[in-house]
Amino acid sequence: MPETAQLRLALITLLALLTGASGAFADEETYLMPAAFVAGAFAGSPPDPQVVWLVGDLGEQAADILGHAPNNLRERYWLRNGRSVWILEEVGKEHPFTVGWVIEDQKVIDTKVLVYRETRGWEVRYPFFTRQFEGAGLTAEKQLDSRIDGISGATLSVRAMRRMAELALLLNGQISRKHAAN
């Protein structure tokens, strides 16, 4: 085979490998099963799930936070001794990714990216980023009261994480009031 043809073949192979690799990144990646996250938040024995409907005033507040209508008309949560767990999904750029949130005393105490489906921005799964949410609460304007530093190249996923944190805190406030009233 002439040298130029060999070079061309090598380049095409390299290109095909790179294309294949980028395609692989586009696939869904599960870092932790949602059920395992919920179980972990309650020392292995989670309570029965409950649901909250995002309709009426709560639906409007959720839409204000998300910048679009809520993805689900109702969200499932697990609650025991003032600790609630939420599994939320939000689109960063093109595909929704799944994040678990643990909330206690109106503050985020733990968060983990569970399933990631975007091609870029997966750095939001790393603890150096997720740790920033620990201790975050909601202001009267329904915004996070803690500063969350962004990640270059993951701007949309970072924004989606902020929106999910605000939504989880909003929903937690709602169910806390409901359960206190009962």
């Binding site: 869904e28 949602p34 059920a35 029965d48 799930p49 409950q50 649901v51 209508a69 993805n71 689900n72 008309l73 109702r74 969200e75 499932r76 999904e89 750029k93 093109e94 595909h95 929704p96 701007t155 949309l156």
Partner: protein, 245 residues
């Protein structure tokens, strides 16, 4: 000696001018597409689609439509190109085709191998529910007396009306909704919608910038343009130096 040098300078200048003229168009194209790519998020280019016939032909996008679907009270649910379709409207993303569908208390329940998705009849998603491990991968679902039955891995489970608790079910399996041939008019409508929602402007601009839109040789041609641009920069510097002398 001076005459030879002047001739060289003239040759260099002419080459520089003509090469520059030849590169003007591809460089403008690269610059414009580069600017657009820097602002894909702001311009929401990944969310905007092109339905231009000639572009679809360039990409070889063929009309594809699902041939079968699940029928429920006059509604059709089908799956094509990683999306669930309710009649001719996209219901949501889904990598896998549904394994079963049931209509329950005004909700459409769509079964996937490891989860359920609930939708209103208007197409709004109510919830996505992960299934208990003892019935995944899920075989099929059915409804019985307002409750959902799920079958998989040899086990049958029944859920409460809120889909919160699952318990074993030992009664007779009522039979599941089976896929049927999708009406041809609906197939055509979905094919048209698919064609109109396949190509994003982000992909078109990215492929124009890289040259891939021009075929297999496109990237090589743009590599050549890039190499010539480097030469142009060098000849430009040489001309500047010679003029200074």
């Amino acid at each position: 000696m001076r005459r030879t040098s002047r001739r060289k300078t003239t040759l260099l200048r002419r080459s520089h001018y003509w090469i520059g003229l030849g590169l003007a168009l591809p460089l403008v194209m690269l610059a414009l597409t580069g600017i657009l790519l820097n602002h894909t998020d702001d311009l929401a280019l990944a969310q905007r689609h092109s339905s231009q016939n000639w572009l679809l032909q360039v990409y070889g996008v063929q009309p594809v439509a699902p041939e079968t679907g699940f029928r429920m009270n006059g509604l059709w649910l089908s799956h094509a190109r990683s999306h669930l379709w309710l009649n001719d409207q996209i219901l949501g993303e889904s990598a896998n085709p549904p394994t079963g569908v049931a209509l329950l208390d005004g909700l459409i329940v769509i079964a996937q191998p490891d989860h359920l998705r609930l939708f209103t009849l208007e197409g709004a998603q109510v919830e996505r529910i992960d299934l208990p491990a003892r019935i995944t991968p899920l075989g099929s679902i059915a409804s019985s007396e307002g409750k959902l039955l799920a079958r998989g891995k040899g086990a049958m489970l029944i859920t409460d009306s809120n889909f919160l608790q699952w318990s074993n079910f030992s009664g007779p399996w009522p039979g599941a909704n089976q896929p049927q041939a999708l009406p041809l008019t609906l197939q055509q409508q979905i094919a048209e919608q698919l064609a109109a929602n396949t190509l994003t402007w982000e992909k078109i601009i990215l492929d124009t910038h890289s040259g891939r839109i021009f075929g297999p040789w496109g990237p090589w041609v743009l590599d050549f343009v890039a190499a010539i641009t480097i030469i142009l920069a060098i000849t430009g510097c040489l001309l500047w130096l010679r003029r200074k002398r």
